[in-house]
Symmetry: C2
Subunit: 338 residues, 2 copies
């Protein structure tokens, strides 16, 4: 089978590609080709696999070409992140809404010319949920919670969920939207996402660097590791159509933790001197965005598919450490201070 | 103040225009001009009012010009109807989604160049609600019911609600979406709306004509008269921003009735021989769409604004009769048979 991953050079996209290539099979069929579409080239290890090809450029520019090409499955992960969408409205509308619509219309075009509906997994987000004075958050949001997004990113993700639901109901595609919780620990540098600090407060101290904490320690939030996130996307792809009944969007599992619990776990894994590198430095813009996010999640439908988040934040930290054991600078703090 | 009504030559748009012109004031300001934008010219009585001007053409073509023009308020009623959207997907996406986005972007463009955010009332629909095996309808849908649309029309309306909510949250517009219940009794001929028969089974018998009934008599549905619908749109326009808290969409009041109760009311108003003109003639396509609609509504937030539907279906029939007392053919059945 031929698989397309949009955002395929990104952190989750590349990890998903590696996972699929290692599995060799998806949904009962052997994987012949994985096409990674992104604005940047994918990592070298992926390009070295004979089954991988890369398309560099904007998704919106690729979408027209997709009318002439059959894929058996698509993971649509390409997205502008929440912070960017709040500062640059046009960027968010183009990257998150227009690009998704163009992709869906390319798939519809193929279906209407006789192809089977393409299976598509869309990475939505629990940012579709926003608190509303008339509809306060339940303690834990889930599939039956009314989405009232309070960020442009959340609104765009939710609009795409509804497009995918309707294109699916019409038979143009076989679409599924997975509402991801915040993925942590991400490698690399902070990005424009308001959730970036959820990785920074673990990653930077492990590298021996100071990390600013822009919110209070009692902020609660659902998180998942990169690998459980990727495994969840695969579960959603492999789920039968019937699982989704009248809806294509599904809330994914998360470990519900506070920042304090994350830092306690860091201390248990890496010692108090590593934890002490996290310095409170309140950022009102980030704190304001995060205050509009759910504090916990319950994901019964996704769990019924077998999707799971970690049950301990230490496991999430240990996954990051295992991933980086060949990169001394990434774990310098752990070795020198811990 | 200058008011724009999109769909202003339509049944609700023209009635809204007449209501505004008769009121002379809206939201504390005198109405100087009412611009009616539609694909057809407005009725002659409206064109005869010196305060009225007309723009004939597609909304999508008008939207660019709206960047150079200030309106104090907009009622955005233009829409392809539910039946059309189900048979012609592209028509629905263009008329309902692309046109709304172009209108919102024109208003955003003005706001970003220094104009105050324009107040906009959008006619959404209770078609945003659809039954879902995983989330059955409550007995009566309302503001806190999870929208899971099962028609393209409903999906498009709901997507527009979320666009309007986000453009409002960002300060580009002051938008409000009113989820209208089915308006009955509409004059004229059946249109492409799946709800068309809710008017046909009253209007045609009153004119002495046979009316097919495409669904069972125990189908239940919330309805409102044209005048209470228009009055509700005015209430939503005049509501303070604070009324909408974190959400801009509001479910409007309806009279929850069964088809049988509608026909009983027809018999009480016009006699058994008029009622007997309604002939069961099941239409699976229409019955299937209507089966996906709510069977009742509760509208606490709109009622708190003073919006009201009728409390008796006889009152709705009598409004239609009063509207048509100078048109003998419209009430021929009432006079000959009743």
């Amino acid at each position: 089978m031929r698989i397309l991953i949009t955002g395929g050079a990104g952190f989750i996209g590349a990890r998903l590609a590696r996972t699929l290539l290692a599995r060799e099979w998806l949904d009962g069929a052997r994987i012949q080709q994985v096409v990674l579409a992104d604005q940047a080239a994918p990592p070298a290890d992926l390009l070295g696999d004979a089954r991988v090809s890369s398309r560099v450029g904007k998704l919106l520019d690729h979408a027209q070409a997709l009318r002439d090409e059959d894929f058996d499955g698509i993971f649509h992960l390409a997205s502008a992140v929440s912070g960017e969408c709040e500062t640059d409205f046009d960027l968010g509308m183009t990257s998150n809404l227009d690009s998704t619509r163009a992709l869906l219309d390319a798939l519809r075009h193929r279906q209407q010319r006789g192809s089977a509906p393409t299976k598509l997994v869309f990475s939505s987000s629990i940012a579709v949920f926003g608190p509303d004075p008339a509809y306060p958050f339940p303690a834990r949001v889930g599939d039956d919670t009314l989405p009232t997004p309070q960020t442009s990113y959340g609104a765009q993700k939710h609009i795409c969920e509804h497009l995918i639901a309707d294109y699916t109901r019409r038979g143009f595609i076989d679409g599924r939207a997975a509402r991801l919780v915040t993925v942590t620990v991400r490698p690399g540098r902070p990005n424009g996402a308001a959730s970036s600090f959820f990785s920074g407060i673990i990653r930077e101290p492990l590298a021996g660097e100071v990390a600013p904490l822009p919110v209070d320690e009692d902020v609660a939030h659902p998180v998942a590791s990169p690998q459980s996130t990727v495994d969840g996307l695969v579960k959603v792809f492999e789920a039968s159509r019937g699982t989704f009944v009248g809806r294509s969007a599904m809330t994914m599992p998360g470990l519900n933790v506070t920042v304090r619990q994350m830092l306690d776990a860091l201390e248990r894994v890496a010692g108090p001197r590593v934890r002490a590198l996290v310095k409170p430095e309140r950022d009102e813009r980030i704190a304001g965005i995060v205050a509009n996010w759910p504090t916990g999640v319950v994901a019964r439908r996704a769990e019924a598919l077998g999707a799971r988040a970690e049950t301990s934040f230490e496991d999430i930290i240990r996954q990051y450490i295992a991933d980086h054991e060949r990169h001394p600078t990434a774990l310098k703090g752990l070795k020198e201070l811990g």
